[in-house]
């Protein structure tokens, strides 16, 4: 009978669509209000980039894809994902079909690599190689040079240089002290 009257069918379908849209929307907003982990409103299964970033900062070894997959599956709960990682269960590898619907803010990737540090992610690398101090470490201790305790300049480059100098001196002084201590102990 309905097949005979398509003009009646379209409005009823539209009504159904509108009603179900509101029902679904109500369902998700209710969900958000009650969940404690989610910090920002989310739409459907879109993962909040802030949450992904929050987790990836805590666990830099994990890929964003894995984090997004887990967040999406647990309904965007940072707490649940963190808990899962901390208990050692690890995150599942997302299926190849999983296409995260999120674009991470670019500052996350571009802001970190900077000129002065050769490698920001050092895996157990010692400080001498980290700051390229091997040449200076081999030199004799410059006794005349007194470490500049306080340093500040109005000039940006100068400040940067002073900071680097203080840092290098701190490492080299500690190294010299340690070497002297060892010599003293072996004599």
């Amino acid at each position: 009978m309905q097949e005979d009257e398509p003009s009646l069918n379209i409005p009823s379908l539209l009504t159904l669509a509108v009603v179900s849209f509101f029902v679904i929307r109500w369902f998700f907003t209710r969900d958000e209000g009650s969940s404690s982990g989610g910090s920002r409103p989310r739409r459907g299964n879109v993962v909040d980039p802030a949450q992904v970033e929050q987790i990836s900062q805590m666990f830099p070894q994990l890929s964003n894809r894995e984090i997004m997959w887990d967040l999406q599956r647990n309904g965007g709960s940072v707490a649940a994902t963190t808990e899962r990682i901390l208990t050692g269960r690890g995150l599942e590898t997302p299926p190849p079909s999983f296409q995260p619907q999120v674009v991470l803010p670019p500052r996350n990737t571009t802001a970190l690599p900077r000129s002065t540090t050769p490698a920001s992610k050092t895996d157990g690398q010692d400080l001498i190689s980290r700051y390229n101090l091997s040449a200076r470490a081999a030199e004799e201790a410059p006794e005349a040079e007194t470490p500049s305790k306080s340093s500040w300049s109005q000039n940006k480059e100068e400040r940067q240089r002073l900071l680097q100098k203080r840092r290098d001196e701190m490492i080299l002084a500690a190294r010299r002290k340690m070497m002297q201590k060892k010599q003293g102990a072996s004599e």
């Binding site: 900062q57 900077r114 157990g124 010692d126 840092r167």
Partner: protein
């Protein structure tokens, strides 16, 4: 807007830390183009196996510098392999679900960078094995103290390239 306030504050702290540096701490932004990414060197506290060592840490401050504590990467991964430091003021605000810490001990935007670094330093002297960053290290600290201390001393020397 919010981030420029944070930026100013970090710059101010950088200035204070440079003109009047606390004993055994050198800290500042890796580059002033990004005030939210710092590097710090912390001397191991005296009277502990960390004495004489220098430890590098990366500090990533949240753009808002408000409710979220900064992230720390202690590069000394052999003892703290995941680099996350367990220290009460670095936890997000609010009460600890484990009830080890009071809300007042935890992160608040009032904590200065200097105060954070001093806390990290004191944590090296007195690790809190109630909420360890590295379960293995904490276990060794509790059960085989002399082995732990020897390992720390070895790492201190390695860290200085010796």
């Amino acid at each position: 807007m919010g981030s420029s306030v944070a930026q100013k504050r970090l710059f101010h702290e950088y200035k204070n830390l440079s003109t009047n540096p606390p004993e055994g701490i050198t800290a500042g932004p890796v580059s002033e183009d990004d005030m939210f990414y710092w590097e710090a060197l912390i001397e191991g506290p005296g009277g502990t196996p960390f004495e004489g060592g220098v430890f590098a840490a990366e500090l990533k401050f949240p753009q808002g510098l408000s409710s979220e504590p900064p992230d720390y990467e202690i590069c000394w991964r052999r003892v703290y392999p995941n680099g996350t430091v367990c220290i009460s003021i670095l936890h997000p605000p609010g009460d600890d679900p484990n009830h080890y810490e009071h809300a007042s001990e935890r992160w608040s935007p009032i904590q200065s960078v200097e105060k954070i670094l001093i806390s990290v330093m004191s944590m090296l002297a007195e690790p809190n094995d109630e909420s360890p960053a590295n379960v293995e290290a904490a276990k060794m600290w509790r059960e085989r103290r002399s082995e732990y201390e020897q390992k720390v001393r070895d790492e201190v020397r390695k860290g200085l390239g010796l």
